[in-house]
Symmetry: C2
Subunit: 339 residues, 2 copies
DNA sequence: TCAAAAGTGTTATCCTTACACCCATGT
DNA sequence: ACATGGGTGTAAGGATAACACTTTTGA
């Protein structure tokens, strides 16, 4: 007969704070076997087949419990079921170790605009963290991040070399395409593939952790974590986070999801900063405005906001009523820098 | 404590046969409690947490077992976990009824070209079926299908009217947008939403079946199934199929997945027929060829195929090597008919 | 010779990109 | 006055959509 299965639900809750893309993370339950690399994770919890009617309802409930925050837009990301590969262990709240195979269902949630801070009462260790902390190499808004050429590229080359020539060439090609080496173009959507590559090369701290765990080894003291390679997360949460960021970057282009991150009224510059913070690339101001115009997704309110520094900007609102009628389109990204 | 969970895996295996889009379906194990509406389903089976290392490996195995067919391209679609709502019952091979909550993980698989018929030895009731059988309203290649105005639209209007005015208006708007009523444009990607609407209105035969099951009622004899509303499937399989068709229609536009359905050598017309069969719309021949040229995804072989009826056509091949390098784009659809 | 399907050419229109420039406010 | 950010105009190049037309085979 078949063994036990536990379903774990995890949420990537994204928002914009001061023009920066932030994500909701929790510190694990303080207690016994706490490890260094378990420092933070996504809000997550077990799915109770007896009481929870749907995944989504269960998810909304425990995110509110863990963070004191109510979710708006929610969509399913992916279901991870691999054995061994950064599998969640005993770090699901309320699930005893040895509960059998754990399946992980990831969700993406978007929180509108100038978000209320999670109220400290309900939230133990919940806090908003910029996701550049977890993926520093994904932020190209100020040009190509140094960490790519300084750390990632050399490590990838070494990793590729350590294999027979045929494999080696394939690995190099893959690294070049993903990290825009040797003149290849940066494709901002391939967040997950890049993280997976870093995991394979061992640059992602979780790789070493999973190896020691599955092989029953103890980590020998100081695992040196290079801050430039991002902060690791517990279990497979950084993988889910990468899936969420990639999905969001792609989806923004063909669905009007960017507006789910905005407050009811916003300036076009604020919208642009949001799109830039999510996509991680700098956009061309004038053309961005034209794109917005063309889509007709937005309506000027004739009201000005003078808190912007220079000339006051007009406030706009998202014409949410369009969602029902036409399958509204997304926003193309008029890039600024080419290389 | 939490109850038992069983993971069911289901595969939408798509292919092209004689220019028609077909999908692999199986007849359920002949045996005891067989019902009318359980006539066919997707290849599916339980996930064994003790033996299966990943979902995908498990899936490949039992599809081969059930159909004698080996999968190529595979991607995960969605994980369904709703209680009550067309939940799979005892129709998962090898799972006893009452095994607790069943979670359903859907996959999409693509089979290349002129596919080998599944060999009858291994396959009990496996067969390729055009997916227009399951979604007749999705085929707009010869213009707007009559069933929409004859059957679906009236039923949707009645369904909308049966509620208070505010709700009623929303429902009408939704139906209009999804089924291109009152001059709204047809959006071929929204397959799942349309099926869900038909389920809600009761036009999908599965709705009545699920109601009688969850309420413990017996179906009273002849449930009249209108063939123009498509053949129903067991458990939630038509929902998964709708998810798969929608995903494929969308993905074709931004990833070169259409070629996964083609044999190694093909004519441009065959490629166009494939794209049309999947997307369900007629395309403009000359402009389609221009689109193909522009993408440079394809390479002429200088060889002619004279089995085409008229003038022999040049054979082309997909430049698969591009997949490693650039994140190759998909195919835009140069529509033929506007209305 | 004719039907059927393959394949070529041309044009108007729209979208994207890039560049230059003006406007309104606070300090 | 000038720095700061908001907002407008315009022109080149490329992609799309809609035409009409020629070519090569089999029956």
């Amino acid at each position: 007969m078949s063994g036990a299965v536990t379903i774990g639900l995890s949420a990537v809750v994204a928002a914009i704070r001061d023009g920066e893309a932030v994500v909701l993370v929790v510190r694990p339950q303080t207690g016994e076997g706490l490890r260094e690399t378990d420092s933070t994770g996504l809000p997550s919890g077990p799915f109770d087949p007896d009481h929870d009617r749907t995944f989504e309802l269960a998810l909304r409930d425990f995110v509110t419990q863990q963070t004191g925050f109510e979710l708006g837009y929610v969509e399913q990301l992916y279901t991870f079921g691999d054995k061994g590969r950064d599998a969640p262990l005993a770090d699901l709240g309320g699930v005893a170790p040895g509960a059998g195979r754990i399946i992980s269902v990831g969700y993406l949630a978007l929180a509108p605009g100038a978000l209320p801070l999670p109220d400290r009462t309900a939230s133990e260790g919940a806090q908003w963290t910029p996701w550049t902390h977890f993926f520093p190499w994904e932020d190209w808004r100020d040009g190509r991040p140094d960490v790519i050429d300084d750390v990632i590229a050399p490590a990838c080359i070494e990793w590729a070399r350590a294999h027979d020539p045929a494999d080696s060439e394939q690995r190099l090609t893959r690294a070049r395409a993903l990290f825009a080496l040797d003149g290849a173009r940066w494709n901002e959507e391939r967040v997950l593939e890049r993280y997976e590559l870093l995991y394979e090369t061992g640059l992602a701290a979780e790789a070493a952790r999973d190896r020691t765990r599955t092989q029953g080894l103890q980590p020998k003291g100081g695992l040196k974590i290079d801050a430039r390679l991002g902060q690791p997360m517990s279990s497979d949460h950084r993988r889910i986070l990468a899936t969420g960021l990639g999905r969001l970057r792609g989806k923004m282009k063909y669905r009007p999801v960017a507006f789910e991150l905005m407050p009811p009224k916003f300036t076009l510059s604020a919208l642009q900063r949001t799109v830039e913070a999510i996509s991680g690339v700098a956009l061309h101001k004038q053309n961005f405005r034209r794109v917005i115009e063309r889509t007709e997704l937005v309506e000027g309110l004739g009201v000005l906001d003078s808190d912007t520094g220079g000339r006051p900007a007009e406030l706009f609102r998202f014409r949410r009523e369009l969602l029902a009628t036409r399958q509204a389109t997304g926003l193309t990204l008029p890039m600024l820098r080419e290389s």
